[in-house]
């Protein structure tokens, strides 16, 4: 029986679920994916468990319907959880061990790794991942594989990615109400990076920006490993809120204006229609028009600030000059009109939209970048749980 996995992202704007299956040859295929509007979520955090559970139930139902349409039937019992939000934090930690013999052996590597896991999180945090970076042997740093090298003290740099335990528990509770068990929480930005980055980009330096509704995750790679990651608690919802406040609209109207009419770049007045129609908030209210230039100005100001803060954070760590291949954008916010050019100008390097290239099955999807994080979570499951079945099967060809 082949292994099948599921990954869930309870996003601020949308709840996303994807199902993947290992193909012959070791690649992973996304067999089903669905995305429905979220409710009860604000800034990537659940505010209403019941509403969040309803969203999860809806997306489960849609997946199961899709499978049924294909002649298969399955009940999804558990899923990996993709996590973002400003409660996610990243700490550097260095493990060290004396080299037992004259040269570094496997035992020393194991001991350095054990030592690097010595950072004990506070009780209110949950570990999402520990990412190994490079080794340092005495004063010689940046070593990828120190085995066989001579030295006295071996150190291993790691990044510990952790999240607020209560926020994770809220997601587990909402999933549980939808009869879905959460297997492991995973960090959205690194999951997205796993799905979209090539080895060339990882080696030569790239930044992944996972632009969500409530927050923007980022993960910077160079020399083949994760150099730094983080989350800024600003996302597409902030753009919507700014529009609503500027033009006194409802949030729903503002969201529609953002998608249909706004641009990240301020367009010239002569380009097309200079006015944007805003429907009345109710049947009793008349529609009106606003300046498209003003709309673009509001959006542009927010997005420039959002990405300049991320640039500042990377500059503080002296990482910008190491990102030689540029920036890859993923998440629902990547679809914003003109956002690639704005980021290119703000961060001063080429930008492209990230397609989950390491999985199959998303080629027909209009916005595959929206599924990058769940695709990366499926890849993680495939790598780490290859021999384990994650689903309760009822019957059907897919699982036979």
């Amino acid at each position: 029986m082949s292994n099948i996995y599921a990954a869930l992202e309870i996003g601020t704007t949308r709840t996303v679920l994807a199902v993947g299956e290992a193909e012959t040859g070791g690649r992973l295929k996304v067999t089903s994916h669905a995305s429905i509007p979220s409710s009860g979520i604000r800034k990537s955090q659940i505010l209403n468990i019941t509403q969040a559970a309803t969203s999860i139930k809806s997306v489960l139902k849609e997946i199961e319907k899709h499978e049924a349409d294909g002649g298969h039937s399955l009940t999804i019992g558990n899923a990996f959880l993709v996590v973002s939000g400003q409660h996610v934090k990243i700490d550097s930690y260095q493990g060290s061990t004396p080299v037992a013999g004259a040269k570094v052996r496997d035992d020393d590597l194991v001991e350095a790794m054990r030592s690097s896991r010595g950072w004990t999180l506070p009780k209110d945090r949950e570990l999402l991942d520990i990412v190994d970076q490079t080794y340092t042997l005495d004063s010689l740093g940046g070593i990828a594989s120190p085995k066989g090298m001579s030295g006295r003290i071996l150190k291993l740099d790691t990044l510990h990615i952790h999240a607020d335990l209560n926020r994770i528990n809220d997601a587990k509770t909402a999933a549980s109400e939808a009869h879905l068990e959460i297997r492991e929480p995973l960090f959205a930005a690194t999951c997205a990076a796993d799905a979209v980055l090539t080895d060339h980009e990882r080696r030569n330096g790239a930044l992944v920006l996972d632009i969500g509704g409530g927050s923007t995750g980022y993960a910077a790679y160079a020399d083949g490993y994760l150099m730094h990651a983080g989350v800024l608690g600003v996302g597409g919802d902030h753009v919507t809120n700014d529009i609503a406040h500027a033009f006194q609209t409802t949030q729903a109207q503002a969201e529609e204006m953002k998608i249909k009419d706004a641009s990240a770049l301020i367009r010239l007045q002569s380009e097309g229609d200079a006015r944007v129609k805003v429907p009345g908030a109710s049947a009793l209210m008349e529609s009106r028009s606003i300046s498209r230039h003003a709309l673009d100005t509001v959006v542009n100001a927010r997005l420039r600030e959002q990405f300049s803060i991320i640039r500042e954070r990377l500059e503080e760590l002296d990482l910008m000059h190491r990102l030689h291949t540029g920036i890859v954008i993923t998440g629902g916010g990547a679809a914003m009109r003109g956002i690639d050019t704005l980021i290119q100008r703000e961060l001063g390097m080429p930008v492209h939209v990230g397609i989950p290239i390491h999985v199959d099955g998303l080629a027909e999807e209009r916005h595959p970048e929206s599924f990058a994080a769940v695709a990366g979570a499926l890849m993680y499951a495939h790598r780490n749980y290859e021999q384990k079945s994650l689903f309760q099967t009822i019957f059907g060809g897919l699982l036979k």
Partner: protein
């Protein structure tokens, strides 16, 4: 001031404890303090010493392991509770880059916050020659401490000492510099001069201050005020890359003998305000102590960049809160909750003291052509 003081000095780790003891020695019996370490030998002669992680580490220190220090502090932090009765503001001094200083400080700051006690952390960062790993570790820990403490000052040791000094003199200079800033808190309340600043006002000033910068300057003779003003303008400790961006709040302490003139106070205060922002909240206090500062003027300048906190500590209607409303054009108070819209009840996203949930065009004062 006695053990009934609302302020408590905490020295964490070897270097922090040394600073705390030096300050306590300057004010015999007046500064309530505790020293905290994982190394039992470090506190052998100190009745105010608290050993943390005794069971886990057997009093042998952390071996430079921050994780061990965090565990030790987490397990033992309640030993501190006996010293916290009536305490409203804790001043923590420590050194980052090693084990105990960084790891224990953040747990202690977190414990204080849980108990409703404001904390101000003064921490040194390693010398650059100690290597990028120690610097990186220190900066990582600093970012966590910054979240837990009410206010925090992180000073690279490179900037606190004269590069031409020998090692002993350099470290002594660093300890003195740190001690001078921390001592200000007690001098302001022990030996106030023309302009007083009480402990509660200090606590309010620091209750939501975020990260800050500080420097001390001393001069004597006829041109002492000009010398100090010149030093303030050129101090790398107070600038950012050579520039002087505006700050949210300024605390200026002027310590002098009985010959301190009002015109001198005015000149120093005016120069600081014009350099770091006329709109900033400005708190000034003086100390007249002829026995220590005869013929001299010492100025301690603390620049507070922003409010990284919710403002829960703030007293509605107090002088400080009303001044901050004026001085924070992009902050929560300036625009009120309505500007946050759908984020009204959410934990704010704060960057450099600005609430990013408030629309950018409002905070940037961008005019819209409707």
């Amino acid at each position: 001031m006695s053990e009934q003081s609302t302020m408590l000095l905490l020295g964490v780790g070897g270097a922090g404890s040394a600073v705390a003891r030096r300050i306590a020695t300057s004010f015999p019996g007046s500064v309530p303090y505790r020293t905290i370490d994982t190394d039992a030998n470090a506190g052998a002669d100190d009745s105010n010493f608290i050993l943390i992680g005794g069971e886990r580490l057997s009093g042998r220190g952390t071996g430079g392991n921050i994780g061990n220090a965090r565990l030790a502090a987490e397990e033992s932090v309640e030993q501190l509770d006996g010293a916290l009765a009536n305490v409203r503001l804790a001043i923590i001094v420590t050194a980052l880059g090693g084990g105990t200083g960084g790891g224990a400080t953040l747990e202690i700051a977190r414990h204080l916050k849980k108990n409703g006690i404001s904390s101000v952390v003064f921490a040194t960062e390693p010398f650059s020659f100690e290597g990028p790993e120690r610097t990186k570790n220190a900066q990582t820990v600093a970012s966590i401490i910054e979240e837990e403490a009410s206010a925090s000052f992180f000073m690279p040791l490179d900037m606190l000492v004269d590069g031409e000094d020998n090692m002993v003199a350099a470290l002594d200079g660093a300890v003195n510099s740190l001690a001078a800033a921390v001592t200000l808190f007690w001098r302001l309340t022990e030996t106030p001069g023309y302009i007083r600043l009480d402990a509660e006002r200090l606590r309010l000033l620091f209750s939501q201050a975020g990260r800050g910068r500080f420097a001390t300057f001393t001069a004597s003779g006829n041109g002492r005020v000009d010398d100090i003003i010149s030093a303030i303008g050129s101090s790398p400790l107070l600038s950012k890359g050579g520039a002087h961006p505006s700050v949210r709040s300024i605390l200026c302490g002027i310590l002098a003998g009985e010959d301190l003139r009002l015109s001198e106070i005015g000149a120093i205060a005016g120069a600081i305000r014009s350099t770091f922002g006329e709109q900033a909240t400005f708190e000034l206090a003086t100390v007249n102590d002829e026995s220590t500062f005869a013929g001299k003027i010492s100025v301690v300048t603390m620049l507070l960049e922003g409010d990284g906190k919710s403002g829960a500590d703030e007293v509605p209607g107090s002088a400080i809160s009303s001044i901050k409303r004026k001085s924070r054009p992009g902050g929560v108070l300036a625009h009120g909750p309505q500007g946050r819209g759908r984020f009204n009840n959410s934990e704010p996203t704060v960057h450099n003291g600005e609430d990013l949930d408030i629309p950018t065009f409002i905070r940037r004062n961008i005019n819209l052509d409707f």
